[in-house]
Point group: C2
């Protein structure tokens, strides 16, 4: 090539020294704030001979945060996913209305692991079968017109990490798959955006009756969870801020209905947030129908059963329906579940170390998995035996206190129970069981210990299927893998109550950092740890800064921030592409 020109050199500089220059360039862009947690690793390749092969399925939150945090060169990683990018899914509702562009929330996975010292390979393919017995998976590439058919191949593994996420749960409601939109993938969001515009264009054609126009412009959203609520709010803003101006003749015919089978919207949030959201939606004319269970969706009508008034069936004509109720199981995961004796489950059951129950060296995390917490009562005899060091048949408070740290680490429900009962320490628990006698010296036999801990297991909680959980699980698992050899020698986990020695690692613990529910009109509800609730514009700005800071790369961060600025200045685009 010829000598480099000034422009080429400048451009090269940017590309080659991304982290530094971009930091300078873009810090101002995200000055809104948040904790800018970003560290790119660029270590030299270490020479390791007997590498273990880790196969990762998926490129979502769980799989990507695992990959991003794995830095033990002892592994060689092969990632298999039909999607060659990571998508920042919390911004999907923003993509449906063009507040943020689809491309701004995705990052090619190859970019994420390009500079890692761990050897990572990516294949754009779909795993369609797991053979855990022979440590093998079967993959097939996506069909494509010009690339002639599907390619099938096998991959061996030493460790398998399943992070494939979930599908939509239609609860087998007839007509949902055929007629409803979903909001799980970037393509779904793009399709919704096109369909909204389609509805407006369609209703604007001549020779369409007023009634038919109303039907076409009726947007029905099924599911009053965070996704449904955020989409309803985003759509309302899009119509009010942008479309009303472009379609003045039909803007008053638009109606948005939110159908929720439960009694309230956002049931997992604080009641103050629920009430605020319901009020706000009512003021804005979004029709919130709680207690309405959708029983059938046809081409032009949704049938709902009114759970409040004796199960009356109503039909509502609609133009576009978005279905966002809970998550379902991917077909190949269902096959895998019956293979490993979990056929009755809807997600892969793992222990607290994210290891899949019933097979070796297979891990599952994110939406496709669920942690099967061990009950204290299952292990009560073993716990008693381990704690009773003197083998006297009774436990003194001192003996119990010594074992308490390990018990709490192994069975997190114990700590939660203490907290929920506002007990200061273990002695309170024991004295409650004994019937509030004099506190020292207390001795318990096994039956009394059972009584003391009998209610503890009620505190076991399933983790929500959120990006936050998946991401924390990915980081946790990567750290385990990073320290595998080290912890093999010096286990750092709690005592094995049923076996000998200690667990290699501490079990996974989820730390809830709070949750947002954007409600439209630059207002967001935020529920932060410690039941701190904030609603309004200030939390909208908190939302902006947290979402900007949580982006997977500086690139997507800058894109998202400039998208917000573009929207602020120019509004949203209504071209049908």
């Amino acid at each position: 090539m010829s000598t480099l020109t000034f422009f080429e050199r400048l451009s090269k500089t940017f590309h080659d020294h991304r982290s530094h220059l971009k930091l300078v360039l873009l810090c101002s862009a995200v000055s809104g704030g948040g904790i800018l947690a970003y560290g790119e690793l660029a270590p030299s390749e270490a020479a390791v001979t007997d590498k273990k092969k880790v196969v990762v399925l998926g490129t979502g939150w769980a799989a990507t945060s695992f990959m991003k945090n794995l830095n033990n060169p002892r592994y060689e990683v092969q990632v298999v996913s039909p999607r060659n990018y990571f998508a920042f899914t919390p911004l999907l509702p923003s993509v449906t209305c063009g507040t943020v562009e689809a491309r701004s929330i995705v990052e090619p996975v190859r970019n994420i692991f390009r500079k890692k010292k761990v050897n990572v390979q990516f294949n754009e393919a779909e795993c369609y079968k797991i053979d855990a017995e022979n440590k093998k998976i079967y993959c097939r590439s996506k069909g494509n017109n010009n690339l002639n058919g599907k390619e099938e191949y096998e991959v061996d593994y030493d460790y398998l990490i399943i992070g494939v996420g979930a599908t939509v749960n239609t609860f087998n409601t007839p007509g949902v798959v055929e007629n409803c939109h979903f909001l799980k993938e970037v393509e779904d969001a793009q399709k919704i955006r096109r369909t909204v515009i389609d509805c407006f264009e369609r209703a604007n054609l001549p020779d369409i009756s007023e009634e038919e126009k109303k039907r076409i412009l009726h947007f029905a959203i099924v599911g009053g969870g965070p996704t449904g609520v955020e989409f309803a709010a985003a759509l309302h803003d899009f119509v009010k801020d942008d479309l009303a101006r472009l379609y003045p003749g039909i803007k008053d015919l638009v109606k948005i209905t939110l159908l929720e089978a439960g009694g309230h919207l956002l049931s997992m949030f604080d009641k103050r947030i629920t009430a605020f959201a319901e009020d706000k939606f009512q003021r804005e004319g979004i029709d919130v129908k709680t207690g309405s269970m959708v029983v059938k969706v046809s081409e032009k009508e949704i049938s709902t059963k009114d759970l409040k008034n004796g199960g009356e069936i109503k039909t509502i004509p609609y133009g576009m329906a978005v279905w966002s109720t809970g998550i379902g199981t991917r077909p190949f995961i269902r096959d895998f579940l019956s293979q490993i004796g979990q056929a009755s489950r809807r997600a892969v059951a793992t222990d607290e170390w994210l290891r899949v129950e019933g097979c070796n060296n297979v891990y599952a995390l994110g939406d496709c998995a669920t942690i099967n917490q061990r009950k204290v009562m299952e292990d009560i005899a073993a716990i008693f035996k381990k704690a009773d060091k003197s083998s006297s048949g009774t436990l003194t408070v001192k003996e119990f206190q010594e074992a308490m740290h390990d018990i709490c680490e192994r069975y997190p429900q114990v700590e939660l129970y203490l907290k929920s009962k506002q007990m200061r320490n273990i002695a309170d628990l024991l004295s409650e069981a004994k019937g509030d006698v004099k506190k020292e010296p207390i001795e318990l036999n096994i039956e009394e210990l059972k009584t003391a801990l009998s209610k503890v297991d009620s505190q076991m909680k399933f983790l929500p299927a959120t990006a936050q959980v998946a991401s924390q699980q990915g980081i946790y698992l990567a750290k385990c893998f990073n320290r595998m050899e080290e912890c093999e020698k010096n286990p750092e986990g709690p005592l094995r109550f049923r076996g000998e020695g200690r667990h290699r690692f501490k079990p996974f613990r989820y730390k809830h950092l709070g949750q947002f529910a954007p409600l439209g009109g630059e207002q967001t509800a935020a529920q932060l740890p410690g039941d701190w609730v904030s609603i309004g514009h200030s939390s909208q700005w908190l939302w902006y800064s947290v979402y900007a800071s949580k982006q997977v790369s500086w690139r997507t961060r800058a894109l998202v921030v400039t998208d917000w600025s573009r929207r602020f200045i120019f509004g949203r685009d209504s071209s049908r592409i």
Copy 2:
């Protein structure tokens, strides 16, 4: 609604006072320059009673520039197009590789005419039949899953403006429609982008032979015109700058081939540009095969006929093929052509006032139309008669000179002929015909006039099918419509040689403002009026500023400029969405 907050008010201010604030905000963004020709009209609605209905077909360059410039409130306009947006097509090759995002080059047509004083309605529908006899068109809306079937309806018109553009011309080559990509619409560009990534992902799968990888990574481009050349250059940059880093194992297997049936690339450009492009492509490893006519495309192979070496047939395996050779006729235009007795034509023939020959009040412009220039020799008797005011049977130079202005206006080829022969004036032409005798006084009879003008018609030129021509035609036609009543009373066109009085308007004259051919690596060839040729980085910056300035709105201008900046800082995205 509740009281407005600061943010809402600020945002509202932006929306309501777009032109002024944005001018301030964004001037710096396009400081690169160019002539920022932009004027938004915001006049008040005028009260006109007997409005004439103008139906415009299309939302491309021709139709949009017509709409944008029409400001006579005497008309009410209905625009019918399957695309509810205008696309800045010269940037389509940039969209194929993500240098610019698809959404940045489109503008909703409703935004374009929202503030006009002319009443404009838009329907997203397709015209499938024109009935010029009854002044009626037949439309149908696009089919859509959720919106239940296609809607059909009729529209009456007083004036019909056809600006529907053209399709791709496959020259009936077998397999092209099934296997090749085109580059006419925004969707085409997006599809090409996905397919390029698909090819890279596919070639990266395990168990694929080296030979197969090479096939998959062979990108064949058919047609060495500006689109084909620009796409080849853009693809080469994309591979070199971005993909090579992400797919290090297969980057050396990539091959780009440019197939051109003619003897050279960019044959409509100056020879210096052609030579530079061919040299540059050769240096960069883009295989330019001139004299190769594609005769068949199958799923994995392209068959070419070597026009240089006695018609040898070769087959080349390929992974993705892009077809960009010339333009063809839309099916409903073909029907219309047979209806109006132009069945043998490939585009709608109009006169110099863009009126379709063979029907009333129908105009055609842009790629779907061609101006049928009137030959001087056809009208020579009429011209002689009109010019010979004394009816003496001979023309004096004085008489001829008096008629000359009208002749040149009506028959632009006369002026071009004079220029091409470097003649100063009409006397030179006449004296050449007479055989260079003494110049004054010359008198010609009709036979001598025929001799004098016999070669003039050779200067008639067909206009190229470019955005520039379409746009100028749209502006021209809008100006005619704006001054329709005025010019009805005071015609301003040239003398009618065959009829009485004058033409209402001056005929359309195309003014060539130059043409760009981006060649990749921040180098562009520019051919400006007066045969001024510039190649290199300076013309790349000229290209940037002209393309920024020519955007249809401040919104797209800002988007395109920020896209360029994003690409400069972060490179192009390779996510397959």
